[in-house]
Symmetry: C2
Subunit: 199 residues, 2 copies
C-alpha cells in the first residue's frame, strides 16, 4: 500500500490546515499516512533564526496570516485569530504526540492540539491544556505525560528531528515519499499523487 | 472587466512558470493582466539579504530547484538546469520590460527573456542577448535599449518597486487585486478566481 511521511510542528501555522485535511484525502486515494511530529526550532537555529521567520520578517508574517485566513475559509476550517501567542512552544505536545504513535492516537491528539491553538485560543504548552485533551481522548493523562518525558521517548523525537534534517526538511508541514520532499500545505495533494504513483 | 496586477522579477525562478502560464489562464476566465516587472533586490535588502534566500539557505535552495523541476514537468514547460548563474542580474531586462508597456510588447519580451534564462542558458544581463530578443520581436533594439535607460523610465521602474513594497510584496511572482496579495506561482489560479469574483 502506498504511504507517505507527514512532518508537522505544533507551532506551525500552515501545519494546521494540513493536519485537518490529510486523513480523509489520504484515505480517498488509499495512502497510509505516517504522522511524524518533529521540532523546527533546531532546524531554524541552523539558519541563524531564533524566532519564526514570520516574526523576523513582518511583511511575510502579515501575508501568512491573511493567506491562512483565505485557506481556512476555502477549506471550511474554523480559525480564530490571533492565537494566544505565536509561535507557541510545541515541545510538550510533540513529545506526547510521539508517545502516542504505538497506540495509534497521535492523529486524534494532534488535531485536538491544533484546534486548541488555532480555534480555541488555548496555550498549548500548558500541562492542564494537554491533560484535558488526553482525557477527552479517553487516555490516562498523567501516565501519558510521564511516558512522554522518558529518556527513550525524548530520544525518539530527537532522532525524528535529525531524520527531518537529513531529508532536507526546512519548514512545516512537509511530506516525504522516500527521498522525495514536498513542502507546504499547498503541496499535500501533489505529495499524495506522488505516493500513489510510486506506491 | 476584471483585472489583476502581475508582479515578477527576472531573476526569480518561480516567476518563470507564472510568466509562461498566466496569459492563457487569464484569457480563459476573462481577466486582464497588468504586467508589472519590478526589482526584488531593494526588498531583499530590507530583510538584510544581499543574495537570494535560496543561496543564503542552501537546503531551501536545493528544494526549490527540485520543486521547479516538478512544476515544469507537470506543466510541460521546458527547463534546462542549472542556469548560467543564479540569481542573474535582471535590472536591464526589467528596465526594457518597463519601457515596453506603452507599446504592449512587455509580455512577449518577458517570456523570451525567461526562456533565455531557464531554457537556453543565456546570460540575460548581457546587452547582445537582450538586443537579439528585441530584434526577434521586430523592434529597434538600439532605440529601445536607449529608451530603457532614460531617467523617466528608470524612475517608472523605481516607482513600481516602491509600490510593490507598499503593497506588502516580499517575493516573486506576486499577484494583486487592489490590496489583496497572492504570492507564488502556486497561487496564480486562486488570484485569478479572486479577480473574477471581485471584478
Amino acid at each position: 500500500m502506498p504511504s507517505l511521511d507527514f512532518w508537522y510542528e505544533f507551532a506551525s501555522t500552515y501545519s494546521y490546515p494540513a493536519v485537518m485535511r490529510i486523513a480523509p484525502l489520504a484515505e480517498d486515494v488509499g495512502v497510509t499516512v505516517n504522522w511524524r511530529p518533529f521540532l523546527l526550532g533546531p532546524i531554524f537555529a541552523n539558519h541563524g533564526w531564533a524566532d519564526s521567520p514570520f516574526n523576523l520578517y513582518p511583511t511575510k508574517g502579515r501575508y501568512m496570516w491573511r493567506d491562512l485566513e483565505r485557506i481556512c475559509e476555502a477549506e471550511d476550517l474554523p480559525l480564530t485569530l490571533p492565537p494566544v501567542a505565536f509561535p507557541q512552544n510545541g515541545l510538550k505536545a510533540a513529545r506526547i504526540a510521539r508517545a502516542g504513535k504505538e497506540d495509534g492516537w497521535t492523529p486524534d491528539f494532534t488535531r485536538a492540539v491544533f484546534t486548541a491553538n488555532f480555534v480555541e485560543k488555548k496555550c498549548i504548552s500548558m500541562d492542564h491544556v494537554l491533560a484535558e485533551i488526553l482525557e477527552k481522548l479517553g487516555l490516562d493523562a498523567e501516565a501519558v505525560m510521564a511516558e512522554s518525558c522518558t529518556d527513550l521517548n525524548k530520544a525518539h523525537l530527537r532522532a525524528d528531528t535529525d531524520e527531518a534534517c537529513r531529508l532536507g526538511i526546512f519548514g512545516a508541514p512537509s511530506f516525504t515519499i522516500g527521498e522525495e520532499l514536498f513542502w507546504g500545505n499547498d503541496r499535500l495533494e501533489e505529495a499524495l499523487r506522488w505516493a500513489v504513483k510510486r506506491g
